[in-house]
């Protein structure tokens, strides 16, 4: 519950720093005013202890559970209960809607929601990151199965087209997450992790991919869409690329946007239930 609260109220330090840098570098009057509003909003949310954005998102958990963590069997239930409580107490906006009846469950839970990604690691601790993901930045997500012969050039094409198509919708300055390879589902998961989990300022450890990230970042900003689509120097705070090996016949390229209001917080839980929260 506290981890969700922290995520929706306090922006992670890497994001705040990146926005401040964009503000200092911006010379367009309208874009600078927008960045100022964003920075003021971040401060005000912190001061009043209120969710920085009214869209408190769909709650996604990325869990890394130690193989001998004693409460492993009740973890799922605890996370779902925490979402219900956070909806009441923080509060969060109820965002869980049945796609067929449009009925809102009212508590941010529902079929497969909150979604929990599980990873089992060695050890006795539980670590999870909560990402309340906004709907506006999810809307322009893209998956393209490009002809494998086009290879790396196609990645550039897909990313730039996605950024153009997205325009002002995902609340730029965004973090553009790109997932390559694996399969349709795998590319999408990698793109989302690249957008929402990876810290701004980090580069892919593979030097070729690190260069690709830098080049894509420059190209995206060169388009000049700018903060909230008002033109300007910064359209993306970063471009992150992750990959998986692919089937010879397929070359999936997925693009997921993370709005400037990146909500993420990580909790590490010890076997005695004591915990620490970091961002």
């Amino acid at each position: 519950m506290e981890t969700i609260r922290r995520a929706v109220i306090s922006i992670p330090p890497d994001i705040k720093e990146a926005i401040r840098k964009a503000y200092l570098e911006e010379d367009g009057e309208v874009a600078k005013a927008q960045l100022k509003a964003i920075l003021d909003n971040i401060e005000l949310a912190e001061k009043l202890q209120r969710p920085m954005c009214q869209d408190t998102g769909t709650i996604i958990f990325y869990v890394r559970v130690g193989h001998s963590f004693p409460a492993i069997h009740v973890t799922e239930e605890a996370l779902i209960k925490a979402v219900r409580r956070a909806t009441q107490d923080v509060p969060l906006r109820p965002n869980s809607v049945n796609p067929f009846t449009s009925a809102n469950t009212g508590d941010n839970t529902g079929r497969y929601i909150p979604f929990i990604h599980w990873e089992v690691i060695a050890g006795e601790e539980l670590e999870f990151t909560v990402v309340p993901k906004g709907g506006g930045s999810e809307y322009p997500a893209v998956l393209k199965m490009v002809p494998p012969g086009k290879g790396v050039d196609a990645i550039k094409e897909v990313v730039l087209d996605a950024v153009l198509q997205a325009g002002a919708m995902p609340c730029p300055p965004t973090i553009v997450g790109v997932g390559v390879g694996g399969g349709a589902d795998i590319a999408m998961v990698l793109a989302k992790k690249a957008a929402s989990l990876r810290k701004v300022g980090t580069r892919n450890e593979d030097p070729v991919l690190a260069r690709l990230e830098e080049e894509l970042h420059k190209l995206v900003n060169y388009l000049g869409i700018g903060v909230m689509g008002m033109g300007g120097r910064t359209t993306a705070l970063a471009v992150h690329v992750e990959y998986a090996h692919r089937h010879p016949a397929n070359y999936p390229v997925a693009v997921v946007f993370q709005c400037w209001a990146t909500r993420r917080a990580t909790a590490t839980v010890k076997p005695d239930a004591s915990y620490t929260i970091t961002q």
Binding site: V30, C53, D55, G167, M228
Partner: protein, 203 residues
Amino acid sequence: MTIYYLKTPVREEEVRRLRVGDIIYVSGVVVTARDAAHRRMIDYVKEGKTLPVDLKDGVIYHCGPVVSKKGGGWEVISAGPTTSARLELYEPTVIEEVGVRIVVGKGGMGPKTAEACSKYGAAYVTFTGGAGVLAANAIRKVIGVEWLDLGIPEALWVFETENFGPLIVTIDGTGRNYIEEVVERAKAVKSKMPTKFTQSTFP
């Protein structure tokens, strides 16, 4: 770039004066409406029913707020704009039939809304996306809520605001569309980019 302070109800000539890039602050009644509320408004118009809130010369806000019950009323916790593009389907009809003067949202709207703005004398203005606490700070009180059966985000929330802004005029009464112009320029930039990755990047 000019700054205007407007009070609701907003007269047509006040809106006709606005130009893209101008900044406005709105005081008075602002009513939230998202997809489901827009759909229902159009149903009401078709059936000749009266809307529960008078929106003639009014201000619509694309927003689904975070609210909490306080005493007998409601408190607004966070209330930034939602992506307006989805409302492109309905907004021209709402401007024409309901007589809305100012539409507040984020992310831009399309040519049909721009056409309706120039024809009927309305403007589309944007508030900084995600700045939910900043927006809530300009809301003095919740006057009422209608159509709560649509769910909290989709209901018609009737707010009393004081200097709600800065709102940037993005579509004006001449039909100019600021964000579309920026995106068109970006498309032109992209079309001039080399399609191959440079040799230095990919040996």
